[in-house]
Symmetry: C2
Subunit: 338 residues, 2 copies
């Protein structure tokens, strides 16, 4: 179907045997220089391009990086996918690699998918995302000594290469900012205690309170899903008490929870930004258009994607990493909600 | 690095020569049945898996589908990428194909990238998105007779396989709905006249007005970018006249424009949903959390992604398509903004 120039055509044009042409175009230097030059010039004129599959088979490499992600539930949006993928694809391409996205599987199936990708020779390495505690992919890939870089941390006792964003630092910035503004009663909408990312962020929350010698009632740490519904319900619960009893600020682990909390405030006739401050996490692109515009933590996603691939390429090419674990700092974006 | 079982190991286990093992595992049937069975059983016991690269080289196919998309500018979000990619990856995987995302290039570079992907044997076909008038990729791929399916239409006189969402039908639904609610003064925020997708949607807008024998002042068709800023500016311009002169409804070609128009109404102390109705397009996941929640047109993205790959696989496997051009219907989602 494609009009690919063949070795045979190059051989005919150069007037040299197929075997010799094949040797030269496959990189052998056991051919007289003059002959090699005649072949290369014929190849150039005809627009010959080496066949990727043949090159890969010779090198026993696929030049592919496997990547899989959890599809977002309906009514939610993966704010970072475009940026993360684009930065990975560009970084990979610049080094002659391509990205191979494959479907995300739950549970036991998950490791099987990774095993199949390795055993069929489809990929030379992986970037992992949505990393959790006791992530079975990490143990499996370590035991296979197969190159990978995780976007995210797992159990602290397991040593593996990762790039992550310091969510704890993000929460510290948020709480420090609120304390500086005079807040002393700060509530938080958090995720369940088995969330690796959630616990990292909550560590920063408590650290900032401790540093300021502040404590809050345990019931002001509300744990649930990262949904609008949980944000709304928790916001109504927290804000329905008397003005001198209720929190003066609510921080959340994502923007969707924060939106729920802001709507709760509206419903109770409280003004967000004066009666109660709200700060989210993620800086989802629509957060600036909310009413009022939402303050939030912005993560350096492009840099994270680039670094995951940069580190992985070093591993795939047998280099050792100078920094095996990289933590990037997020940024607090202040808008009218706080 | 990987613990792949080799043909040599299978040969040792079966006690049969490497050459014969290679023949059998590469699908030859020129080997005695009993011998073949001994080899296959040894291969199974050892967990031998065929090498993808070798298989690809034999079949001269890469089993890959190329896909490239325009990265979203900062402060915007690609609402459909996750759904579109996930549905394509799943559909491809089910048929033994994988997706190969590659970086988007502007202008002349664009066709060169596609040429390079074909000539290096990296992909067996493409899914195109962000299709425009006179799209150079379409002419190039048609001239190369290389399999592709476009997500979107181009010049009507060029015949090529596509899957698209009927944006004109979406706008007709929107305008019909507003007319039924009693609106007679409907303005629209549109894109520049060289936008293929924009013109398709605007066709539906004018058709619905014509069907109701309504006409609107030409200055109520405002053309500009799909941004918040353009929506805000246009909204202020349209709504700053006296109540009996200004439009009673504004429809837009995306949700970001609609958000700008809603903020313009707030700034002029008009209530969206009573003083002026606003309806967007895209049904971005955060639209439901806006104040008030935004009515919008929802596109069947998952179905579009699935169909693009389903059609492409038929083409790559040499089948002819029963329907070469497929148009899917969007859906109007009504919320408090209209």
């Amino acid at each position: 179907m494609s009009e690919r120039v063949t070795l045979k055509q190059v051989a005919a044009k150069a007037g040299i045997s197929y075997q010799t042409v094949s040797k030269v175009l496959n990189g052998s230097n056991q051919v007289a220089r003059e002959t090699a030059e005649r072949i290369l010039s014929a190849a150039r004129e005809l627009g010959y391009r080496p066949n990727t599959m043949a090159r890969n088979l010779r090198s026993q490499r696929s030049w592919m990086i496997g990547y899989s992600w959890i599809p977002t539930p309906p009514n939610q949006v993966n704010h970072i996918l475009d940026l993360f993928l684009t930065s990975m694809v560009q970084e990979a391409e610049a080094a002659g690699y391509h990205l191979l996205p494959f479907p995300y599987q739950e549970g036991e199936e998950q490791v099987e998918t990774y095993r199949e990708m390795i055993d069929s020779g489809r990929v030379d390495g992986f970037v992992l995302s949505s990393v959790e505690y006791d992530d079975p992919r990490i143990q499996f890939l370590l035991s296979r000594q197969f190159p990978f870089v995780a976007f995210g941390r797992s159990n602290p006792e397991i040593d593996f290469p990762y790039v992550d964003i310091d969510g704890g630092a993000g929460m510290r910035m948020t709480v420090d900012y609120l304390i500086k503004k005079g807040h002393r009663r700060i509530a938080v909408l958090a995720w369940p205690e088995n969330s690796r990312v959630g616990n990292d962020r909550m560590g920063g929350f408590f650290e900032a309170l401790n540093n300021a010698a502040l404590s809050i009632p345990t019931e002001w740490v509300m744990r649930g899903e990262g949904t609008y519904e949980f944000g709304l319900k928790s916001g109504l619960h927290l804000l329905s008490t008397s003005p001198d009893q209720r929190p003066t600020a609510i921080v959340t682990l994502n923007d969707t929870q924060a939106i729920g909390a802001m709507v709760a405030a509206h419903e109770l006739n409280l003004t967000v930004g004066s009666d109660v401050d709200v700060i989210g996490f993620d800086d989802a692109p629509m957060s600036q258009y909310l009413y009022p515009p939402l303050s939030s933590i912005r993560q350096p996603i492009r840099e994270a994607g680039r670094l995951c691939v940069e580190q992985l390429i070093k591993l795939m090419e047998g280099e050792s990493l100078i920094e095996r674990q990289i933590l990037l700092n997020p940024k607090l974006i202040i808008r009218a909600s706080a």
